[in-house]
């Protein structure tokens, strides 16, 4: 009997345990409910509160800028994928009326974090600006007396107005940009030091810069890359393609830029301010550039189709300038069908800090285009061949005027 008793107790114990497991006390179920509810409420609170917090942080960043004030329409934070978006960002210069155009407007500015880098506790990612419009002040006029006079007057203004878009974006988006993307954007450049303040539109800017900070990881085994397309003065198409290895002791890069179809008439305000004359014609320019070990090598080919110069004012000096220029054009242009064409290639040697544009091959290039052989469109004859050893002016001219030769050669570095 005494042996059966524990077995019975045991049996009853099992039953009790089974009963307790099958019917947990209501208090435990409530606890779980409250924990889940608490987590949900916390997530909701963070979700609701993070956007105003981010907006406050961004406004603080804008208020920290010197000489500018601004506002934004909306700030949005996303967790999956981790991103930070500012919409309708406007920056205005201090002292400007609120009705005037902002110096910087971005419809959408997004900072997206790279998850791979975030796992390593690094804030690295992409900064993308869509529909950015900026006014950039700067430049100098080539007329010396105007430089001095206008420079004195506006020196203070230039300093105050110096807008560093990169710094502004860096201040507002607190991550290291590995990729910068600009889409459908416009820049208005104008020369504040010139009394006439000529302006130039660079519109429809599409720009991508990639592998800025993580390229040393070599996870993709590719260099820094820059691609760009824009419309200059509403008529010319600018395209740039370049790769660079900035982690070398001295910058290493290769690339090319091409500007085609630029109507000089659309630059009337600039040419009038700089030279007192206005020009017509179509400009095509092709630039090829390379740098390694601190040395620089490149060429710029410029072709102007149907050039014509007219005086900007009724002044005698401007009229004379225009007549002389037209005369020079008629003498130095080649005839390609019914079109007049003036063109040459400018070889560039030297170092990054002291580039050495070679004048004689450039001048001889103009002569060759006019009298010997018409210059080819595009990059077909670039880079300009370099002479084995330094040539005198006479030898250079001899090469330039021979039809069978490739034209004036670039001279070895540091020599002409």
């Amino acid at each position: 009997m005494s042996a059966a008793s524990p077995a019975l107790t045991d049996r009853y114990g099992i039953r009790a345990a089974a009963h307790a497991a099958a019917h947990p006390k209501p208090i435990y179920r409530f606890k779980l409910f409250w924990v889940l509810l608490g987590i949900a409420a916390l997530i909701a609170a963070v979700r609701i509160g993070v956007d105003p917090l981010a907006r406050r942080y961004t406004q603080k960043g804008i208020d920290g800028l010197t000489g500018y004030h601004g506002s934004m329409a909306r700030v949005q934070v996303s967790f999956f994928p981790p991103a930070y978006t500012i919409e309708g960002l406007k920056l205005q210069q201090d002292g400007q009326e609120s009705a005037t155009e902002p110096v910087l407007y971005v419809k959408t500015l997004t900072g997206r974090l790279t998850l791979r880098e975030l796992m390593k506790f690094k804030l690295v990612g992409t900064v993308a600006a869509h529909n950015l419009k900026a006014t950039i002040r700067g430049g100098v006029t080539t007329a010396p007396e105007e430089v001095k006079e206008a420079g004195r007057k506006v020196e203070k203004e230039v300093k105050e107005n110096d807008l560093n878009i990169g710094k502004v974006l860096q201040d507002l988006i607190p991550l290291r940009a590995d990729r910068i993307e600009v889409r459908d954007s416009d820049l208005l450049l104008y020369d504040v030091t010139d009394p006439k303040r000529p302006s130039l539109w660079v519109s429809d800017v599409q720009l991508v810069i990639e592998n800025l900070v993580t390229r040393q990881k070599l996870d993709q085994n590719v260099p820094l890359n820059v691609t760009m397309r824009a419309v200059v003065a509403k008529t010319g198409t600018l395209k740039i393609l370049a790769t660079a290895d900035l982690f070398e002791e001295k910058p290493v890069f290769s690339g090319q830029a091409q500007l085609t179809g630029l109507q000089l008439k659309s630059l009337w305000a600039w040419t009038e301010a700089k030279a007192g004359v206005g020009a017509e014609g179509t400009v095509n320019a092709f630039v090829n550039f390379n740098s390694a070990k601190g040395k620089l090598s490149g060429d710029a080919k410029v072709i102007i189709e149907n050039p014509k110069v007219g005086p900007a004012t009724g002044k005698l000096a401007d009229s004379l300038k225009a007549k002389v220029a037209n005369l020079a054009i008629s003498v130095l242009s080649s005839k390609d069908g019914g079109d007049k064409k003036i063109g040459t290639t400018l070889p560039l040697k030297g170092t990054l800090y002291k580039p050495d544009p070679q004048i004689w091959p450039t001048i001889l290039g103009v002569v060759r285009n006019a009298f010997v052989e018409s210059i080819d469109w595009g990059f077909t004859d670039l880079p300009t061949p370099t002479a084995d050893k330094k040539q005198g002016l006479f030898d250079q001219a001899k090469d330039a005027l021979k039809k069978n030769e490739s034209g004036p050669k670039a001279q070895p570095r540091g020599e002409q």
Partner: protein
């Protein structure tokens, strides 16, 4: 000799015509007219760039009045020709793969666009969608192994459909979306370093 004679003749003509021009300019300025010698304003422009440059002193006002802010231009679709150096940035096989993939993608995007366009019953909406990604003449990207005009236009159309910057040039993000690794297309080092171009 002939050139010299022409030069002398032109200079004397210039001097003679200047006096006549100056007289006309004075007469026109008195009457509020424009000076002679200025080319006609660009077709479609409301005023000459010269007038726009002179009219105001502050650029912001100038921008507001003379230039419509944000002039979204299609611009001439001039493709980029490539220099000998630039060609050395790319691997030929990679370019062929890019062209092959791009051709397939463009066909897929074209079909998707047609489908979307057919679903839109409203004619205006349909027109808008068609304008979004114009893909006419882009179904034939040739396997040339060169970054030619058709490849650039194809890339531009693909970038537009993916809402990437429309450079028409192969950036790494565009390549990723085409499922091509950047190192399949680009050489690891710039040609300036690899080829010893800079002397």
């Amino acid at each position: 000799m002939r050139r010299a004679l022409l030069t002398a003749l032109a200079l004397s003509l210039a001097a003679c015509s200047h006096a006549r021009d100056a007289k006309r300019d004075d007469a026109k300025e008195d009457g509020g007219g424009k000076a002679k010698g200025k080319p006609a304003p660009k077709e479609g422009a409301k005023e000459s760039p010269k007038a726009a440059g002179r009219r105001t002193t502050t650029p912001d006002r100038n921008a507001k009045k003379s230039d419509p802010r944000a002039p979204k231009l299609e611009g001439p679709a001039e493709p980029m020709t490539t220099s000998k150096t630039t060609r050395k940035m790319f691997k030929t096989e990679g370019l062929k793969k890019l062209q092959e993939t791009l051709a397939k993608q463009l066909v897929a995007i074209g079909k998707k666009n047609d489908q979307v366009a057919n679903e839109k019953k409203d004619a205006v909406e349909k027109e808008k969608e068609e304008q979004k990604v114009p893909l006419a003449d882009l179904d034939g990207v040739d396997m040339t192994g060169d970054l030619d005009a058709r490849t650039q236009e194809g890339l531009r159309a693909f970038q537009r459909s993916e809402q990437l910057p429309e450079t028409g040039l192969p950036d790494y993000e565009t390549l990723r979306r085409l499922h091509i690794s950047p190192d399949e297309l680009y050489h690891h080092e710039p040609p300036a370093k690899r080829e010893g171009i800079v002397q």
